[in-house]
Amino acid sequence: MTWTLPLLLNSLAVGALWKTWLAKQPSKLWLRSFSFSVLVLSLLSWGWIVGPEYGITIWFIVSGIIALVIIGLSAESPLKSSYVRKRSCKPRLIQPISMRQIFQCFVTFLISFGLTLLASVSACLVLTKFLPGTSVNNLVASAFLFPALWSLACCWVLSIEQRSKPIITLISILVFSIVLLSL
């Protein structure tokens, strides 16, 4: 059971973070400092027990799961009164998105799909060419950046009602990248 120590520290840290959150007072600075210190300590202990690569990955996963367990256990229990339940289950309209909007969004996504793809690929090719690292590092960094940029560009296009701004920006990136690549 080599995982016992880091698990205990991790639980203690997330538990302390929860207590800090419950306290909701700036004067609880010591609790906040303590919880973050233990959190760092748990990260170090994970790294020490299973190595840095496994350690960081496991630390993120385990911290999240412990927090979710605490949230589940401390959740406000459902009300039993049928009157309240009936009332609370009544759907409330807070600017709901219509099916038409979703359809429009999907069409916009499909139309912008090609442009965002071209812009992100060309930007990543520029990075591959001009980043100062070795060709392997540049290629791998760009291979990770390409889908990230692509999806963020898609989200950006969808978030703005006036689509001309992102379209002009993306075309500018594309043209600028082509010029840089052809140099």
Partner: protein, 486 residues
């Protein structure tokens, strides 16, 4: 967050998060759910073929005999012949090349071929949605990228990320409970979801990126790009001779004492360019393996530099284990399953929030129940292919269609959800019973028993969930259970 971002940015992020999420929800749900199950594909493969001989040790004689028998069985010797060694996770040995594959018995003779059954169906559904391989892989990769975008816009759209960090108001409205559930599961799983999204996007889209990069910088030579990243094969020229596996293993033990061999690759067998590759796991490393190359006489040529080469190469080769949770043993796999389920619930609750916000119910409410509860039923139902002659794919499509029809016919989402949940309970209970009857496995601690018990426990949990809701529903006047719309 509130101080850093303007309300306009928050609103825009929320809008794009909602619109994109609703547009891709069903497919993303499918990919996330199948991905969660695929984490355990090695265990499912063992469950599906429990009568294959299992052992944790191997011998050089065993390899020699199996390679010779493989050569006798095939018409031509493959360029790359794989001998996969037993490990703690999969204590089975198999040999493969050019699409032919057999398990290796303890005496080196070849046993059954691995079945392309339910587990294979599940893997293909996750990796390529059963579309032509490249297209499917790219589409799933795009969904990985979109998942990353959804996580980022979700964070930007969440101004009370710290204030609500541990809050789940189950006693508020249904919409509030769903929103809290969605937000808490999302926030605390963020690093995991980003990692899954980015590694998934990398796996799916790297082929596309390689093609573009090859055209831009390598005169269209894709292999040159791959060689740059992963390293090229060594150039070997020697007289043709039998491979000395024992000498290679001895050299490996001296060269890298901590390396644990997981498979052998015999490259260009029977030619002057023949050499042996031993892929070996290194402790505490996320890279899939380091590749050690040996001449036929067992002399070390080099290693590929997956473990100590450029950082980019190490990262690229760590993607697989990181994405599928295949490191540090079963506990990590179970944690991956847990967070994978959380991500699946996030996909479902996102749409649920939207559905509860609407002032009316329509066929979409029913359709969504058919997707969310029909899909698990269909995937588990496809496991009947282990006992029947029907294919997993046809069973999957039939059961899912049935689930959708039930949901759309009943026109009462709560009732159809219960029907599908009870259906899932029944299937999860029936499959282990049929498995025990068919294979008559001993009740000791083995992977089949654990999976069967896992299914029974899941079934009982679902039964409790569905029954709870059933009692809850009985308190509501019967006319409420009538179709919510016409």
């Amino acid at each position: 967050m509130k101080n850093i971002l303007s309300s306009q940015v928050i609103q825009r992020s929320l809008l794009s998060h909602s619109l994109l999420g609703l547009s891709i929800s069903a497919l993303l749900f499918l990919i996330c759910f199948t991905g969660t199950l695929v984490v355990l594909f090695e265990e499912f493969e063992r469950w599906e073929q429990p009568d294959v001989e299992e052992y944790s040790d191997y011998s050089v004689e065993q390899i020699t005999v199996s390679v010779a028998e493989f050569e006798r069985r095939v018409e031509s010797i493959p360029e790359s012949l794989y001998v996969v060694l037993p490990t703690e996770e999969v204590p089975r040995m198999h040999i493969s090349g050019d699409g032919k594959e057999w398990f290796i018995n303890r005496d080196g003779s070849l046993g059954d071929s691995p079945q392309e059954g339910w587990t294979h169906f599940l893997k293909e559904l996750h990796v390529s949605l059963h579309l032509p391989e490249t297209i499917g892989l790219i589409i799933v990769g795009i969904f990985g990228a979109l998942l990353f975008g959804m996580v980022i816009t979700g964070i930007l759209a969440h101004p009370k990320i710290f204030k609500d960090a541990f809050r789940w108001r189950k006693n508020g409205s249904l919409q509030l409970a769903q929103t809290d559930l969605h937000n808490r599961l999302s926030v605390w799983g963020t690093p995991f979801y980003i990692m899954i999204g980015l590694t998934g996007a990398f796996i799916g889209l790297v082929g596309l990126f390689v093609a573009v990069t090859a055209s831009a910088f390598y005169d269209g030579n894709r292999q040159a790009v791959i060689d740059t990243v992963y390293g090229a094969d060594p150039e070997v020229s020697q007289s043709v001779s039998n491979i000395d596996y024992q000498a290679a293993l001895n050299h490996l033990e001296k060269y890298a004492p901590k390396a644990e061999p997981i498979y052998f690759v015999i490259q260009n067998k029977g030619t002057e360019q023949q050499f042996l590759e031993i892929a070996a796991r290194l402790p505490e490393r996320l890279i899939y393996s380091e590749l050690y190359r040996f001449k036929s006489n067992g002399e070390l040529i080099n290693h590929q530099g997956m473990s100590d080469g450029d950082i980019g190469r190490q990262v690229a080769y760590s993607v697989y284990r990181l994405h599928f949770g295949h490191f540090a043993g079963l506990p990590i796999k179970l944690l991956y399953v847990l967070l994978g389920l959380c991500l699946t619930v996030v996909c479902a609750s996102g749409v649920n929030i939207w559905l509860t916000k609407r002032k009316h119910e329509s066929f979409i409410n029913d359709l969504w129940v058919g997707v969310v509860w029909g899909l698990p039923l269909a995937i588990v139902g496809a496991a009947f292919s282990v006992f029947l002659s029907a294919s997993a794919m046809s069973l999957f499509l039939m059961v899912w269609l049935l689930g959708l029809i039930i949901a759309l016919t009943l026109k009462a989402p709560k009732s159809s959800r219960r029907v599908l949940q009870f259906g899932l309970c029944g299937v999860l209970l029936l499959i282990p019973i049929l498995h025990w009857i068919k294979y008559q496995i001993s009740f000791g601690v083995n992977v089949s028993t654990v999976i069967n018990l896992g299914m029974i426990l899941t079934s009982l949990w679902l039964w409790g969930l569905a029954s709870n809701r059933f009692r809850w529903q009985r308190c509501i006047p019967f006319y409420k259970l009538k179709p919510a719309y016409d």
